[in-house]
């Protein structure tokens, strides 16, 4: 452990191992995940090129790519940014607010999809015209 004297408010310093083994392990892991993503990307490309692309299959592969991306994000934050070495209080004050993204993504993609449905249903239809009969004149009313 190094001769830190940074701030009096810090109770203890995290143990930093002398070797860089973990860093390099994470680098190879991130590279492998990226290559896997590229492989899936090329697979999606080749499915798209075909005459009758299977949309369920494409969606499944895209979902897999999303999961791999989340795994990459986890390793970058946990190892490279050392969040995994911090105490639970710091981890929670960062991670808990980020849970807002769950609603954020779901709600807005849902909204986009509903927008498309409405567009496809009503586009090209004539705009509805409200027909109002002229009010019948009451007897004895003055013009």
């Amino acid at each position: 452990m190094s001769a830190h004297a940074s701030s009096p408010e810090i109770t203890f310093h995290a143990e930093h191992s002398g070797t860089t083994k973990r860093i390099w392990k994470t680098f190879w892991l991130l590279s492998a995940l990226t290559i896997l993503e590229l492989g899936l990307g090329l697979l999606i490309y080749n499915i798209h090129k075909g005459d009758n692309p299977n949309h369920t299959l494409v969606l499944a592969f895209k979902g897999m790519v999303c999961i791999l991306t989340l795994a990459k994000a986890y390793y970058i934050v946990s190892v490279f940014m050392h969040l995994g070495d911090e105490i639970r209080n710091l981890i929670m004050t960062i991670v808990v607010p980020l849970c807002l993204f769950i609603w954020f993504i779901a709600a807005f993609l849902w909204d986009g999809n509903s927008w498309k449905t409405l567009r496809n249903r009503y586009n090209g239809m004539p705009a509805p015209v409200e027909k109002v009969e002229p009010a019948a004149k009451e007897k004895g009313a003055k013009d």
Binding site: E9, F12, I23, W24, H48, T69, I87, I94, N113, R119
Partner: protein, 293 residues
């Protein structure tokens, strides 16, 4: 956790110590990055909403299939962007190695890895400059709203990434296309055809014959929002990379001047590192949303 023994019985919230066991500056860097994550998240989610709301979107494998020095007709989807991704991952590793050397109070090591990180950042920015230039000066042909064909670059106003036009539609559209647009289209073709043609001297009929003989590919104009989202989000990320490079240069200068040795710790390198890793983290998601899916 290796520090479990120290934590036992520590009253984190009763004052006198940081409840996060981190310096003020580091905690605030984390909060800044969290708010920046929401900014990027909002941009990407807005892009997702628009993309979900239209029936056709530009196919990334078609848009991003170019690579420097491979010529006009190369079809290499995902290749260039993978290069950019690996550059950024590599510079992230050199950054974390610089932080590691800082923990060991090794000034020479910090300097070495900071220089490597800065070079990685500059390489990434150069790649992005090439890609933007390539799209903004693109040579793809699209059918405009007036039914004529024209060379259309990718800008925030329009782009040629709609559905491909069938051969008969192209032939019909060529008949109504004015002379200057025909010359421009023919101008994009002659380096594919081998021998150089003097397109400026040709008549309309000659131009149409020349264009049809070189198997022209053309498409409808693409979704208008595509350019704005692509240039907006990758530009905002590129600006983060640029400011990260500037921060790293300042850190390198301060390391060289011995400021951190005087202070007794290299925590500033850690904070700059947090920012740099965040830039890499955002790229992971930009890469996913624009290039992979």
């Amino acid at each position: 956790m290796s520090t479990a023994a120290v934590q036992q019985g520590t009253k984190w919230w009763s004052g006198g110590r940081s409840p996060f066991n981190a310096s003020y500056g580091k905690v605030m860097m984390w909060y800044f990055l969290m708010s920046d994550a929401f900014t990027f998240g909002a941009f990407l989610i807005s892009y997702g909403t628009i993309r979900f709301s239209v029936n056709n979107w530009a196919d990334p494998n078609h848009v991003f299939n170019a690579f420097p020095f491979t010529g006009h007709d190369a079809n290499l989807p995902l290749a260039f962007v993978s290069l950019m991704t690996f550059i950024l991952i590599a510079s992230s590793v050199t950054m974390v190695l610089a932080v590691h050397e800082g923990h060991n109070m090794n000034r020479k090591g910090v300097e070495k890895y900071m220089i490597m990180t800065i070079i990685g950042g500059l390489a990434f920015l150069s790649c992005q400059a090439w890609e933007w230039t390539h799209l903004l000066t693109g040579e793809h042909v699209a059918m405009l709203s007036d039914g004529t064909l024209s060379v259309l670059p990718t800008t925030v106003k329009s782009n040629p990434w709609g559905a491909a036009l069938p051969h008969e539609a192209i032939a019909a559209a060529l008949q109504t296309t004015p002379h200057n647009q025909l010359t421009e289209i023919a101008g994009t073709l002659h380096h594919a055809g081998g021998e150089a043609h003097n397109v400026a001297a040709m008549s309309n009929a000659e131009l149409i014959k020349f264009i049809e003989s070189s198997d022209l590919h053309a498409s409808n104009t693409g979704p208008i929002a595509f350019g704005g989202y692509f240039f907006g989000i990758t530009g905002f990320h590129g600006f983060h990379v640029f400011s990260g490079v500037v921060i790293n240069l300042v850190m390198l200068a301060k390391t060289r001047m011995g400021h951190f040795d005087q202070r007794g710790h290299y925590e500033m390198i850690e904070k700059a590192g947090l920012y740099w890793h965040f830039v890499d983290l955002v790229w992971v998601f930009v890469f996913l949303c624009f290039y992979l899916i």
